[in-house]
Subunit: 511 residues, 2 copies
């Protein structure tokens, strides 16, 4: 048997007819690679007498596996599998790369340009599918959605399928998951995977408002659910974990969130990305279990020089998941114009951060795209697809602010390779070549030559200036191209300059 | 014997002629209050056969003390003292208050408007004294200075008095402190105390550059020195601890700094404020041993909406110790105009943060005020004294941004009491009354009445508008005074509006 790297391998066992309660792991599958590396994967109940363990190997070669269990019949089963190279479009789970960025397990950089549809999982089939088609077409590569259904404002559709059976007392019995519910969730993650979209799974729910009662589970019940969820989903390569959207809406202690995060980190054998998203009070993203900051703060991308400070504070990737939404609701969080949202994405970009999109036009049926999905209608998605393609062209981990200590310019890039300077919503009439050096030992040299493209972020055009700029003066903080005349710009537009170093003659020869 | 609260009480013992090495505590003085509270204070060697322990009681009433020691003669000494009320100007050590602010132990708020003279301790007597006179006159209430001497740029005077004897191998022997050196340090702290200035003591030194070799002590030697320093200074009520200025200039592991901070927290019986100050890489101020963030990031106060993000990230007081300096050196960190520096202080203020001043005009002898002190000559100190007096008038913990999530205005205050809105370096021609409410349950009510002062931050004038503004419309995010005409402003000036609620008729009656 041969199996592709990063793909889900299922160990399927037959166990007791009377299902084992989900508050304990029915069996473990222990996978040993020929190198001696061992991965221990929790099994889970999948309905009737069916028990599964899912594993996604990240190393090619032979893996042998054995099961352990307190239940006779689930213990001592063995097997082996030869793992070959990955399927062409599969690069493995996304993890942190270069302190502030992301890359797949195989090293392929990943630059999130994310979307948000909280209640997507709970929509009728047609809307469920149309949402993914629309997001795919727009070019989004990450989707935030909740496992538990949403109640509250702008929600018009409430699902009947819920995650747990209820006990005789009417309370949820988290030891009896509704397998149909979780198979739907599996399928949702797989569907996103097939479209190249990361599934940013929101585990708990701050928008229940008592309607479904899923915000009323105890800490112990929450833990049972979390372990079951992780056992089911962890092997899917496109999973990201987020404990909650706007966690601080719930009246829970920080210690409870800390414990949930630590449990998540300990429980996940595939070590997916982990974070938690805030309403008005930031979580301490310096906590060890957190892999990246996933935060909102309304003003953080409204002007330059703000979002990057979170990089300084946390020294982790910063994803601004919610920078307000393009739409027309009366509330101030949901009435950005497309131009404003695209502007904020570009500010996030030259701040060395990432952002997520959401759309909040009030639809005919009274709901919003960020709640229920459907077809996108805003002006921003196309421009964000354009941004994503520009980011995809960058070779390296990602864009870092070149001189975040200082305010003279807002340039992000990969030193001596490529720089992006976003000029804001209203470019000046001309620009004179200058690069920040930041005094940090970035090895710009007199004689380095650069080409410049003028990128119109709204009209989605890329116009090369058509001449090269040669450094004549490299100082502690700045480098200049003396004698190079100014570049005339289409004044008043939201422009980005892309500045790329030309190969040296020697380098060309070497290549 | 009666002793005032918060004042230094010395237990003076005679011990071995051959001094005990300072790498162990020669004795402990255990103070027990009549309530049963116990404080354990480390003793230290003070030259010849003289051993001291210093303690500043924070509770009135009877305290009994006993010494413990492994050295006969230092053990088993007892005494008692009756502690009465504090001297009039003494409010006790400054600690964190209201999450983001500071207050003395007796509850008196403290709003730092700090100064910086790194090498002050090591200056000749005349300059040493003149520095303090000049800082006192300007109204600064905190001074950052280093225990160890500074080498490097703009340093013209190098001291002969150094903190440790040297061993036969020429290396410092940290077990033999130079008592004359540390008595000078004691006196410096006491001098600042007499002027109402907090002593922000920089424990280690990133500017030695090998000249004195004090940056070459081992981690163990550093710890010996730290415990000795803390034993000597902890009882002085005006001490703040800072592990280092620009710690990341030194090539040391984060773990070493973490350990030093934890040692400091454990060693200090008086629980003074503790932080560490960065160059280009921020420390993790979420660490438990850190009481407040003391940081620099050049652009953080150059525009609105930045510095406050550090409050969100750390949920501790934020002191921007270095926001660049007023001066005329060629380097970009030291060539602000007075207007720019005052502007940045006001931005820090309405960001709910605090800042420190420094002056970097090149003096006749080639040094700078931030290095060697002397008389201040800049334009900012007088305006910062004006700012400090305005802050001193605020009743409550301090100014918090009212709606930091949003960008519509930059207003800080104490909800429903007093608000400051800084308009930046160029005020508009008029202003219409509006207060942010932030939807956070701040209980503004229709009918609340406010008075407004127009404050010119540069010319130091306070002009009441002379009419009252009554709320007619309190919405989720804003409150308005319908019908109140706009306030005409002196356009183009760096103005702050101070908006204070007038007492309700009922409240006036009750008072």
């Amino acid at each position: 048997m041969t199996h592709p790297c990063y793909a889900v391998l299922e160990v399927v066992l037959t166990g007791p007819d009377e299902p084992l309660p989900a508050d304990r792991v029915p069996f473990w599958a222990v996978f040993e690679h020929e190198s001696g590396d061992v991965k221990r994967v929790p099994g889970f109940w999948d309905g009737d007498d069916r028990y599964l363990a899912r594993f996604a190997p990240e190393d090619e070669g032979r893996w042998r596996w054995t099961t352990t269990s307190e239940t006779a019949g689930l213990a001592g089963v063995t097997g082996e599998v030869n793992v070959a190279g990955a399927e062409p479009a599969e690069h493995g789970p996304v993890r942190v790369a270069g302190t502030f960025h992301f890359a797949h397990a195989d090293g392929t950089p990943f630059r999130p340009v994310g979307a948000t549809v909280y209640n997507w999982l709970h929509q009728p089939g047609e809307r469920f599918a149309a949402t993914v088609d629309s997001l795919t077409e727009a070019g989004f590569n990450k989707l935030r959605f909740m496992v538990f259904p949403q109640a509250g404002g702008y929600v018009e559709h409430f699902p009947e399928l819920l995650p747990f059976e209820r006990g005789a007392d009417g309370r949820y019995d988290v030891t009896r998951p509704v397998v149909t519910f979780f198979r739907r969730l599996d399928a949702a993650v797989v569907l996103l995977q097939s479209r190249g979209i990361q599934a940013d799974v929101l585990i708990y729910n701050a928008y229940d408002n008592g309607r479904f009662g899923l915000d009323g589970l105890s800490e112990t019940e929450d833990a049972v659910y979390l372990r079951y969820l992780v056992a089911r989903l962890s092997a899917y390569s496109n999973v990201w974990w987020s404990l909650c959207n706007e966690f601080d809406i719930l009246d829970r202690s920080t210690a409870r969130w800390d414990a949930a995060g630590e449990l998540l980190a300990a429980a996940d054998p595939h070590d997916h990305l982990r974070s938690i998203h805030n309403w008005v009070r930031l979580y301490d993203y310096n906590q060890q279990w957190v892999t990246h900051a996933s935060l909102q703060l309304g003003q953080a991308t409204e002007d330059f020089g703000r979002a990057s400070l979170f990089r300084d504070a946390y020294r982790k990737p910063v994803v601004l998941d919610e920078i307000k939404y393009e739409g027309d609701v009366p509330e101030r969080w949901g009435r950005l114009t497309g131009r404003e949202l695209v502007h904020q994405f570009w500010i996030a970009t030259v701040s060395g951060c990432y952002a997520s999109h959401g759309e909040s036009f009030v639809l005919d049926d009274g709901t919003l795209h960020i709640v229920a999905g459907g077809l996108l209608k805003g002006e921003s998605p196309e421009r964000l697809g354009f941004l994503r393609r520009l980011l995809d062209d960058v070779v390296g981990n990602g864009l870092d602010p070149i001189d975040n200590w200082w305010d003279a310019s807002f340039v992000a890039g990969i030193p001596r390779q490529v720089y992006f300077q976003y000029l804001g919503r209203s470019a000046p009439a001309s620009w004179t070549f200058r690069l920040p050096t930041a005094g940090m030992g970035i090895p710009l040299e007199v004689g380095d030559r650069f080409e410049v493209d003028v990128i119109d972020t709204w009209n989605m055009t890329i116009k090369p200036v058509g001449r090269s700029f040669e450094l004549t003066d490299v100082r502690r903080n700045d480098a200049f191209a003396g004698g190079a005349g100014p570049v005339q710009l289409p004044e008043g537009e939201a422009l980005t300059l892309r500045i790329r170093r030309l190969p040296q003659p020697a380098e060309t020869d070497a290549g």
